[in-house]
C-alpha cells in the first residue's frame, strides 16, 4: 500500500520520526521503490551529520546583558576600530613566569603592595589596575591586570593555586564595591572560568565595569546552580584599589 506521498516519507524515515506502523508501511514501499533506495544512503548520511551536530542550548539569562554591556562599553571607548586586544594578550606577566622562589617573593611583595590604580598608558590600552588576590589563609594567590581598551575592560587573570572544582561548579571573577558583604553582595561579574587539568588558570575576561566604583576583585567558587547572582563561596580577594 504505497500512498501517493510515500516518497516524501523517506526524510522522516531516516530521521526515525515515523510511528512503528508507518515505518512498517514505508519498509514495504522501500522494498519496491528504486528511487527511494537510491536516495536512502545519501539522506542517511545527511541525517547522521544533523544528529552529530551540537544542539542549541539556552545560555545563562544574564549573559545577554553582560554581552551587550561589554559591547556598549567598547562602543563608547576612544578608538573602537583601532583597539587591538590581541596585542594586550601577548603581554608577558611579570612574576609567575619566572617560577620558583622568585615568583613567591614577587607574589609576597605584590600582596603588600595591594592594588595600583592607573599606570602605564600603552599604545593599545591603558593599564587601569593591577591586583594581587589572596585567600583568607594566605595559601593561594592570583594576579589580575585590568586594561581599559577601546572595547571596554579586559581582565587578564592568572593563578596556579586554584583547585579544580567538581564537575558543574566553576570560578567566577567579580568586581566588588567597597560595601560588598557576603550577606549583601554588591558586585558585578566579569565572567567565569575553570583551571586547566594542571590546575592553572589563565583567562582573559571582558567586562564593562568601572574599577573606580567597584575597586575590589573577588574570585568565588560557584555551585553551578544556574543562579546568575553570587551564590558561591569567596576564595580569593584583593585589597581594594586606593
Amino acid at each position: 500500500m504505497s500512498e501517493p506521498g510515500a516518497h516524501t516519507d523517506l526524510g522522516a524515515y531516516v530521521l526515525g520520526m515515523l510511528e512503528p506502523r508507518e515505518r512498517e508501511s514505508f519498509d514495504r514501499h522501500l522494498a519496491g521503490c528504486a528511487q527511494c533506495q537510491a536516495e536512502l544512503g545519501e539522506l542517511q548520511a545527511a541525517a547522521r551529520l544533523l544528529r552529530s551536530a551540537p544542539k542549541a542550548v539556552d545560555p545563562p539569562a544574564d549573559l545577554r546583558a553582560r554581552t551587550l554591556a561589554a559591547v556598549q562599553s567598547a562602543a563608547v571607548g576612544p578608538e573602537p576600530a583601532a583597539a587591538s586586544p590581541r596585542t594586550i594578550r601577548r603581554r608577558r606577566w611579570p612574576s609567575l613566569a619566572l617560577g620558583g622562589a622568585v615568583a613567591v617573593a614577587a607574589a609576597t611583595a605584590a600582596l603588600f603592595l595591594g592594588i595600583r590604580l592607573g599606570g602605564d598608558v600603552g599604545p593599545s590600552g591603558e593599564l587601569e589596575l593591577q591586583a594581587t588576590l589572596a585567600s583568607a589563609a594566605g595559601d593561594a594567590t592570583a594576579f589580575a591586570e585590568v586594561v581599559k581598551l577601546g572595547i571596554g575592560r579586559e581582565i587578564d587573570f592568572r593563578s596556579d593555586d586554584l583547585p579544580i572544582l567538581p564537575k558543574g561548579e566553576f570560578y567566577e571573577l567579580w568586581f566588588a564595591a567597597l560595601e560588598d558583604r557576603p550577606s549583601e553582595p554588591n558586585r558585578i561579574s566579569a565572567g567565569t572560568f575553570h583551571p586547566d587539568e594542571n590546575g592553572r588558570s589563565r583567562v582573559t575576561l571582558t567586562a564593562a565595569v568601572d574599577p573606580a566604583l567597584y575597586p575590589t576583585l573577588v574570585v568565588s567558587a560557584e555551585p553551578g546552580d544556574g543562579d546568575p547572582a553570587p551564590s558561591g563561596e569567596d576564595v580569593l580577594r584583593s585589597a581594594p584599589a586606593e
Binding site: L15, L18, A46, L49, A56, L68, V71, A75
Partner: protein
C-alpha cells in the same frame, strides 16, 4: 533553490545597522537569534560552560568590531556570524588544549600548532552543519530544528506549527535533501 530565507534579509539589515554604530537593539536581536546555537556549539566543542559563555560574548564583540566591514554582496549575514564564531571557537579551543610542558612556559608563548587538528575539523563540521541548516527555507529548517534541537515527534511538530502531518513529512524530506546539497557544496568549496 528551495526558497529564500526571510531571516537572511533581517540578519543582513541588523548587521548593517550595527556597522553604522547602533548597538543595543540590532545586536540584542542578533543575540536572540544566535546565542543558543552558539552556546550549544560552545558546550559541545569546548566542553565547558565558562568557555561556551566566552564563545558567545567574544563572538558578539568581534561581530560589533567587524560589522563596519560587512558587505552583503560577499556573503549572507548568517555566514558572517558563523565565520566569526568559528574563529573564536578555534581560538578558545587552542587555548584550552595547550599543553605546557613546564611550569615556566606561558601558554601565550605556545604556537598555534599545539592545537589538535582533529578538533579544528570537528569545529568546522559542527559549524558546517549549523550553517547548512541556515541555507534551507524557513519552513524546512523549522521542522528539522524542532525535531533535532527540541526532540519533537512529527505529530508534535504538526500540532506546534498547525500544519498537516503530511506537510511535516514533506518538509522533513525536502529539508534533509537541501541539507545534503548544502553540505556537498561546502565540501566542494574546501
Amino acid at each position: 533553490m528551495t526558497g529564500a530565507r526571510k531571516d537572511d534579509e533581517r540578519e543582513t539589515v541588523l548587521i548593517e545597522r550595527v556597522g553604522k554604530g547602533e548597538v543595543d537593539e540590532p545586536l540584542g536581536a542578533l543575540y536572540d537569534m544566535y546565542s543558543a546555537r552558539l552556546y550549544g556549539l560552545g558546550i559541545r566543542l569546548l566542553g565547558d560552560r565558562g568557555l561556551a559563555e566566552e564563545l558567545v560574548q567574544e563572538t558578539f564583540l568581534r561581530l560589533w568590531r567587524s560589522a563596519p566591514r560587512f558587505d552583503r554582496e560577499l556573503g549572507s549575514g548568517t555566514t558572517f556570524v558563523f565565520t566569526i564564531a568559528r574563529r573564536v571557537a578555534i581560538d578558545l579551543r587552542r587555548r584550552r588544549s595547550s599543553r605546557p610542558h613546564a611550569v615556566l612556559v606561558d601558554e601565550r608563548d605556545l604556537e598555534p600548532a599545539h592545537a589538535i587538528a582533529a578538533s579544528d575539523g570537528e569545529i568546522e563540521l559542527a559549524f558546517g552543519v549549523r550553517e547548512a541548516l541556515d541555507t534551507l527555507s524557513d519552513e524546512q529548517r523549522t521542522v528539522l530544528v524542532l525535531h533535532y534541537d527540541h526532540d519533537l515527534t512529527q505529530s508534535e511538530i504538526a500540532d506546534r506549527l498547525e500544519i498537516p502531518l503530511g506537510t511535516v513529512k514533506s518538509r522533513t524530506y525536502h529539508g534533509l535533501r537541501g541539507l545534503r546539497r548544502a553540505l556537498e557544496r561546502k565540501t566542494a568549496d574546501v
